[in-house]
């Protein structure tokens, strides 16, 4: 019992240390490629594989950290509320763009999965990719998908957007900063928002607002869209 508690606190302290170190590393090199979460996930996964520790054992001892995942999701209500006050005027545009972005991401992933004929579990893991990581984890879990795969793809999509997003928008001849920010916030969530903030303050403001709006839309709309899609493609 005592040794269990010691092991748990030891592992949690190690994870927190690793996380703080990777945050430092990221702020030092300032590149989206060194995403702290991705660095931590890859490092811990590699340790588990090399030390031959099963994931079941790991999740048991890292539970105190995992426990805060749901609390973090609830805490998202705070920035949502703060943003709603700031952006009342363009709320309609934000809601529409969030809706379009989330729906197109889900549809693209769904069509690709149907083309490749993959198991249902994998299909369910790729339907909520256009949101911030905590919402992905929770929504994917609710759809009976694999949260870890969804989170991994979400981080990679965010990195893709942060690295190539602005060049793609330039190629599309988008000059309106609001449109740039909206697209990056909806599609590439937190990591894209960070890139938008660096690019232009107005783009950054619209990116953070649209990121939080698309989190709300995904939470409500994706489970419904999933039910519609699966029932119409049941055969």
């Amino acid at each position: 019992m005592l040794s269990d508690m010691l092991l748990t606190s030891f592992v949690c302290v190690l994870i927190i240390g690793l996380f703080l170190a990777s945050r430092k590393l990221n702020s030092r090199f300032n590149t989206p490629l060194l995403n702290p979460l991705l660095v931590c996930i890859v490092t811990v996964s590699a340790i588990l594989i090399f030390a031959n520790i099963s994931y079941g054992e790991f999740i048991k001892v890292s539970y105190p950290i995992h426990f805060f995942l749901e609390i973090a999701v609830v805490a998202l209500a705070y920035p949502l509320y703060k943003q709603i006050h700031d952006i009342k005027r363009s709320l309609g545009l934000l809601l529409l763009c969030g809706f379009i972005g989330v729906t197109s991401a889900t549809l693209v992933a769904f069509i690709l999965c149907k083309l490749f004929v993959v198991p249902d579990e994998l299909l369910n893991s790729l339907l909520a990719l256009s949101v911030t990581t905590p919402i992905t984890l929770i929504v994917t879990d609710g759809l009976n998908g694999i949260p870890a795969i969804a989170a991994f793809m979400v981080i990679l999509i965010g990195m893709f957007g942060a690295v190539f997003g602005l060049s793609i928008l330039h190629l599309l001849k988008i000059k309106d900063q609001r449109a740039k920010g909206l697209a990056l916030g909806v599609v590439c969530h937190g990591i894209g928002t960070a890139a938008a903030i660096e690019h232009h303050p107005q783009a950054g403001a619209f990116a953070s607002a649209s990121m939080i709006i698309s989190a709300l839309i995904t939470a409500i709309w994706v489970p419904i869209l999933y039910a519609i899609l699966t029932s119409s493609f049941a055969n």
Partner: protein, 143 residues
């Protein structure tokens, strides 16, 4: 003279210690209260989803509930800020255990890598294209 200044420095030391303890106590009290509010929403939603056998994730219902309570002015923004700010700042930490679940599904990536590659390219590309063109169009309309 020396004794007096000594006593004086002891006095300032004492008050500064007491002040530090007091501020720490107030900070941790505020943090606990706001964490309790968040957890209250979460566990209330868990009860509701369990009672009515709802498959919708409880954490999302709790987020919407807290958002509505804030909008209605029942919970004040300043009550939950002390816990929300640090939790949101270090939020990514809490996703690590769930994200490491990847180790159990490495074979899925090996087996279906063309799908993952296409999803990784097409989802952000099409999303950026549609959203930015739509927002651009709407923005020009508005002006």
């Amino acid at each position: 003279m020396v004794r007096r200044s000594h006593r004086h420095s002891l006095q300032t030391f004492y008050t500064s210690v007491m002040n530090t303890i007091r501020t720490h106590f107030i900070t941790s009290f505020k943090f606990s209260v706001s964490l309790m509010l968040i957890m209250g929403c979460l566990y209330f939603s868990k009860l509701v989803t369990a009672y009515f056998a709802i498959t919708f994730p409880a954490a999302l219902i709790a987020m919407l509930l807290l958002f509505c309570l804030l909008l209605a002015g029942i919970i004040k923004e300043t009550w939950i800020a002390p816990a929300c700010k640090p939790i949101l700042k270090y939020m990514a930490l809490f996703f690590i255990p769930a994200g490491v679940g990847l180790v159990e599904h490495l074979d899925a990536f090996v087996q279906h890598w063309p799908l993952f590659l296409l999803v990784l390219l097409l989802v952000p590309l099409i999303g950026l294209l549609i959203v930015s063109l739509f927002a651009n169009m709407r923005g020009q309309h508005a002006e």
